[in-house]
């Protein structure tokens, strides 16, 4: 974009100026309509005056009828312009709102998991609705009222100057205070509005978590405590809103007072001038009429300032998202997009989350088509290890290769498109079961879906549902049992027919019999496909070509099941302890 060429530092408004430029046609048309409708309104009193003159001078009924009709006509014309003003300016503001929301959401989609690790969902929800509304108010009604105010102001000023430059000068003195006050108070409005918007985010996030965690809250009877907590948040929100309201309640009368003081000054000094004969009385009277026209714009100015500052605060909040660069994205330059064979190589890979080292030198080569079992204690780094395959977190150069290509040189979508995961926590969307399975492969046929479901031993459950694969599940799949969710996730992973398949503890909530069935079915799926199976249960990894035992971010044992059992290390211990119960039985 041309922003690159301009050396000026980016301001908060860069985000919307490009939209304003895009819709400048609407803006210009809107401006013209605003000027026209306001001018017409100013003409109406003039026609009234003509009609009065006619009455005074005994004009005919038909003459009067003409003017009366002209008056109605002008009113209609002015109404038409008002209509067009809204149709253009407000219309444009809705477009800007919609476009900007799209831009933010699109940007959110590119941000990396590490961003979401520290961001609250409620905060983003607030920004996408509440803050955008504030921005829209600034762009739509804000611009509209500002223009009307300016037009009225300029017209009134012009008439005043025409009537008496001298009186105007008296009035103008205090008028210079307007921008000063608007600026001072404006900054205060900005700070307070910012606090309100930030707290609205907190409030939204609190409600979001409360509802998402409703089962925990109910089972531990935390309802009353939650209400009390929410009360304190809501009370604070009230307080912050009052801070702003107090300012607003002060600003409006202040501006009104100022506007009235203009009249006062004009009255006193103007009066003196009249007495000294410098200004005719009639001029003074007419002058007042125009001064009174300034009172409303003064009040409106306060409103516009508040709209502007609120919008600006929200814009800054929104910009914080837009300025966040995705940590993970396609590197510039030639990228690898080819078909993946599934050869994976870790070369002394080290990885830390914000300074805490989780993987400490992983060396590992997996030949295409092999099945790898990964075991290790909770928190040893298994999930982290596989998530790096999809570059969910940044991987240093030269430490992870797929098909001999550094993972950073793979095009992200090509990389992720060919590796498929059944994640440890099976996340489902509120869609039909079929659509959830189809998630990884848009083009999958119904048969493919059913085959995948059958492999995951899900089909017989689905058959018991009246709507079969069309059965809708709730958010996160809440209307399914734990095992059903997991099996849907497995089916989703295999239907994509990837080059590399990762099953992360994917059968932990499935009973032994079903698990055995899935393992049997998987054999054909795993054939010719690199796969990594993470599990705490030996039974799931036993058949793997090679099993890795991970501890504290290092691979401390590897080999086939039999080899490892023979070795008598951690794996053998694990194996024994899983059999302990039975051994006790035998005694």
């Amino acid at each position: 974009m041309n922003a690159d060429k301009q050396p000026h530092p980016p301001g908060p408004f860069d985000t919307i100026t490009k939209y304003l430029r895009r819709y400048r046609g609407y803006l210009i048309a809107g401006g013209v309509c605003i000027v026209c409708s306001n001018l017409l309104i100013l003409v109406l009193p003039y026609i009234t005056k003509i009609i009065f003159d006619l009455l005074e001078n005994k004009g005919t009924d038909s003459e009067r009828l003409h003017w009366v009709l002209a008056m109605v006509g002008l009113a209609i014309l002015s109404g038409l312009f008002r209509f067009l003003t809204r149709r253009t300016v407000i219309w444009m503001s809705r477009r800007v709102e919609c476009d900007l929301r799209g831009e933010i959401f699109r940007h959110l989609l590119t941000l990396s998991p590490s961003f979401y690790d520290r961001t609250r969902t409620g905060d983003l929800m607030a920004k996408l609705t509440n803050d955008l509304e504030a921005i829209r108010m600034m762009v739509g009604p804000g611009i509209m009222h500002l223009s009307s105010t300016l037009v009225t102001f300029v017209v009134a000023l012009a008439f005043m100057l025409y009537l008496s430059p001298r009186l105007t000068l008296y009035a103008l003195g205090p008028m210079l205070l307007f921008p000063l006050i608007a600026n001072r108070v404006g900054n205060m409005v900005h700070r307070r509005a910012m606090k309100i918007q930030e707290h609205f985010s907190v409030l939204t996030a609190a409600v979001q978590e409360n509802i998402a965690g409703v089962r925990v809250i109910k089972s531990f009877r935390q309802e009353d405590n939650e209400v009390e907590h929410f009360r304190s948040l809501s009370q604070k929100y009230l307080g912050l809103n009052m801070d702003l309201a107090r300012l607003y309640a002060m600003m409006v009368p202040l501006l009104m007072t100022l506007a009235s003081l203009l009249t006062l000054i004009a009255l006193y000094f103007g009066g003196l001038e009249v007495m000294s004969g410098a200004v005719p009385l009639g001029t003074l009277v007419a002058f007042f009429a125009y001064l009174s026209m300034l009172i409303w714009p003064a009040v409106a100015l306060g409103w516009v300032v508040s709209l502007y500052q609120r919008g600006k605060a929200s814009l800054e909040r929104v910009n914080r998202i837009l300025e966040t660069e995705p940590v993970i994205r396609d590197e510039p330059g030639e990228l690898h997009v080819g078909e993946m064979r599934g050869q994976i190589e870790f070369s002394n890979l080290r990885f830390s989350y914000n300074g805490t080292e989780v993987l400490r030198g992983i060396n590992l080569t997996i030949e295409p088509g092999r099945t790898i079992g990964l075991v290790g204690r909770t928190g040893s780094g298994k999930t982290t290890l596989v998530s790096l395959l999809a570059r969910m977190y940044p991987v240093p150069r030269g430490q992870l290769f797929i098909d001999g290509v550094d993972i950073n040189d793979w095009e992200l979508s090509a990389l992720r498109g060919q590796i498929s995961f059944a994640t440890q926590e099976p996340f489902l969307f509120s869609a039909s079961i079929g659509d959830n399975i189809r998630f990884g492969a848009d083009s999958a046929t119904d048969e493919a879906i059913e085959t995948a479901a059958t492999t995951a031993a899900l089909t017989r459950d689905v058959r018991t549902f009246p709507d079969g694969f069309g059965t809708m599940v709730g958010e996160r799949g809440i209307t399914l049992s734990g095992g059903q969710k997991q099996r849907t996730a497995i089916a989703r992973a295999i239907v994509a027919a990837p080059a590399v398949l990762v099953l992360d503890d994917a059968t932990s909530s499935v009973d032994t019999e079903t698990e055995a069935e899935i393992n049997r079915n998987l054999a054909s799926v795993l054939e010719g496909r690199t796969s990594i199976i993470i599990s705490h249960r030996i039974s799931s990894v036993k058949q793997a070509d090679r099993i890795l035992y991970l501890e504290d971010g290092r691979i401390i044992e590897q080999g086939s099941h039999d080899e490892l059992v023979q070795q008598g290390g951690h794996y053998a211990d694990l194996y024994r302890s899983q059999l302990l119960a039975e051994q006790l039985d035998k005694l």
Partner: protein, 603 residues
Amino acid sequence: MSDVNNYHEEEVLGKAYDARLMKRLLTYIRPYRRWLLLAVVFLLLGSLFQISFAFITQIAIDEYIGSGDQAGLLRMALIFLVAVILASGAAYAQLYITQWLGQKVLHDIRMQVFAHLQSLRLSYFDKNPVGRLVTRVTSDVNVLNEMFSSGVVAVIGDLFMLALIVGALLYYNWKLALITFVVLPLLVLATFLFRAKVRRIYREVRTRVARLNAFVQEHITGIRLLQLFVRENHTFDEFNDINRDLRSVHFRGIYYYAIFFPTVEIIGALSLALLLYYGGVQINEATLTFGELVAFIHLVERFYRPIRDLSEKYNILQASMASSERIFALLDTVPADGGGDGNHSRSFKGGISLEKVWFAYKPDEWVLKDVSFTVEPGEKVALVGATGAGKTSLVSLLYRFYDYQRGSMKLDGVELTDWSLGRLRSHLGLVLQDVFMFTGDYAGNIRLRDQRISDDDVKRALHRVGFDRFLETLPDGIHTEVQERGATLSTGQKQLLSFARALAFDPDILILDEATSSVDTETELLIQKALDELLKDRTSIVIAHRLSTIEKADKIVVLHHGEVREIGTHNELIQQPGIYQTLYRMQYQKPAGQEPSPAAKSK
């Protein structure tokens, strides 16, 4: 279609009865009616002072400037100054009170909605996306802001003014007054047409905003999955549809009020025109003086000012009504019944009995069929069964998250429905299959907001689940931050925390639903040891797929497709052919014909 199939669509609300809605909305102001009155008084005072400006100017010009009385002019200027200050003071007081009033009322409504939400039954949350409910509590309530903060007071003020002016008009010249009113039916008609259109729009806006929030909520929580499956573009398209849909509703709305407001102005001009024409006729007939007409027209202009204001407020009112409909629909949702009076003074023993319990989430899709078994006080009972057999559902029934349709379920000899909900749940402690972590710290996730649980209790519970080795590495110990949903924890760690949570609450009956499914075996054995001691005389229900965790149970209940198939101890059940025996064989031995039992091999 079942209601789950309409998951993303909100129910269509019936015809709106504005009067009833309005009456209900106004009840929220009742506690503050004195303040409301005060605000109206200040408003009227303010307008009075405003009007006085004109009078003062008038007098100053006519009496003092004309006669060259400088001292008099100064006096008038000072009076003017006083009037300005008074007007500003009144305006400040009025604005402050109305804003305060509005915020207060909003706070009250927000609290009511939130509190009511806490009382609703779980099935309500199954049916409503999180984002939609969030919208109700936050932005739907905020829509009411304008109505309560400026709307009500201004409307009262405007109506008051209007009444005064109408009286004055009729008093001055009733014939001309009637001519002025001739156009009023037009105004009523315009308002009527506008109302119907615009209400529909606002209703749609509210549902679209809720839909947008629901979409964002869901897809932000699922963002990792989206990215793993390269669904960004597809998701964006879906988002765009919703986003544009909202925009197009707004577009239609703009159209209507872009017509409505000018229409009101035009009607005003029309009435002025009529007045000027017929007033002229009357003047020519000499039934009206010129001065009278001028005065009358001034009044008529004042007459249209509150009407214009009112039409603006009418728009705000429509928006408020549309969102209050949704809010009231939520408030009218019947809460989960709080159960009986829960007057069980005798000591709690902890037996559970089920007799011919039938349960379905949706009519006629039975999940539990004719389930009967008992859990004696102090007994440890294991629930076993294939996935989807109905184990979790059974626990939900015990918690009265859902109510069974037939049969009877008793805790401590008292039917569940006769327990007060709070008392019932206070005896139970549950490790949920789906773990959930809150933003906060470790301690906060264990004790939740229950201040009776001390830091030491928290540490003890963490110790019991073998979390010590992680705790040591944390910078701030149990006060280390936890992110939303425990995003920076491993799944096993989350499960351990969720386990510790149940232990910290020290319940009479402990229920473990797959509590260690994602935990490594070493830790699992450690927990089991701790539990052996902890559960010694405590009733407990354990659901697990790994049989090792349940072998020591006093009783094992095997559930299959929602029916109880086998009941007995481990030793009894492995002797008899059946589901349990098969499961057991699967886990520890290969079926006949394959390699010999690994147990035999390893020693």
